[in-house]
Symmetry: C2
Subunit: 225 residues, 2 copies
Amino acid sequence: MEDLQKRIGYTFKNTDLLTEALTHSSYANEHKAKHIKYNERLEFLGDAVLSIVVSDYIFKHCPELPEGELTKLRASLVCEKTLFEFAKQIELGKYLVLSKGERNNGGAERPSILSDAFEALIAAIYIDGGIEPASKHILNFVIPAIKNSKKKKLNDYKTALQEIIQKNPGEQLEYVLVGESGPDHNKHFVVEVHLNSNVIGKGGGRSKKEAEQQAAREALELMGY
Amino acid sequence: MEDLQKRIGYTFKNTDLLTEALTHSSYANEHKAKHIKYNERLEFLGDAVLSIVVSDYIFKHCPELPEGELTKLRASLVCEKTLFEFAKQIELGKYLVLSKGERNNGGAERPSILSDAFEALIAAIYIDGGIEPASKHILNFVIPAIKNSKKKKLNDYKTALQEIIQKNPGEQLEYVLVGESGPDHNKHFVVEVHLNSNVIGKGGGRSKKEAEQQAAREALELMGY
């Protein structure tokens, strides 16, 4: 458990809370007479702590997003799949307290069990130290996830264009740098995207990559996507 | 707007936030050129603030409830129907900024519009003053709602028994006080519930009502419910 506390960068005053967060109901059921606390109530609370921290962050840091986009982004950050990824980053499965049966059945790798435990861990930090450390803990995972999802979105225009063109064998895409201006700290690049040597899009940006993306985007638009 | 601030017991440092919370998208659409802010983004954030405040409160104040019951209770406290009731308590509809069309169509009384504005108002307080005043504001509504729902549940045994008995015409229920003891500040009552003069349940409590409920509960149990 000390190891886990180092991984998450938080030291519990009351380690019983950490134990509760890591204990799955299957273990409590296996040892019924002992009335062991398990993590379901903490998971209930952790879910709400996660939601306010993520909501607060994206509300303030994405002022350009309308409500619908904020809701989609929040949903993608608090869903089981994402929490499962977060849990794996700290190898949470290693620390889970499961029944023998559940462990033998691969419970320590199951997305639902790991994402629930990740939420319970959030609540344990929240009860032990308040909203500040809970928020810090959550944002350690959420901020990189938001950056990654932005990167993926940026890559999407080129990927999308490539996928469409590939459907017609023999067609070939090429990105051609046609302009470069400005001083080193404030460069501007212009790129054309060619399809079999015909220009189908042109775009500018602060890097070649960005300019290529914009060119691909224009091509997609011209093609009616 | 001063009137509303008095009603909710919170004075805004930045009243623009209050205006935004009260402005429906229909009004912004009606005056598109002015780029007026409306309450949808605040509603997004308010939803999460409401959830953490309610979750935190019931987690700490209902230690006997398992996760499933906590989830049900939270859902009942943050649903549109409940928020609509809260909004009516402060006559929020009077302060809403709607388009002419929406106002003429009864928008100021519509549950969805009022509950959304109530959530936006929560977010406005949260941004303006932090989690403390937002929490205080929310609990002003939520604590009485929890007490009411407990009261309703308490009434349920008598109502449930009555409904079962009514199915057989001619059967008659009667509650009979059979014991009363203790000093005034710590009375204990015992009540029997009779069905056609047969005792079918007996219960005790600090008030006649409570004793009747317990008697009805015992009757229901004996009848296999």
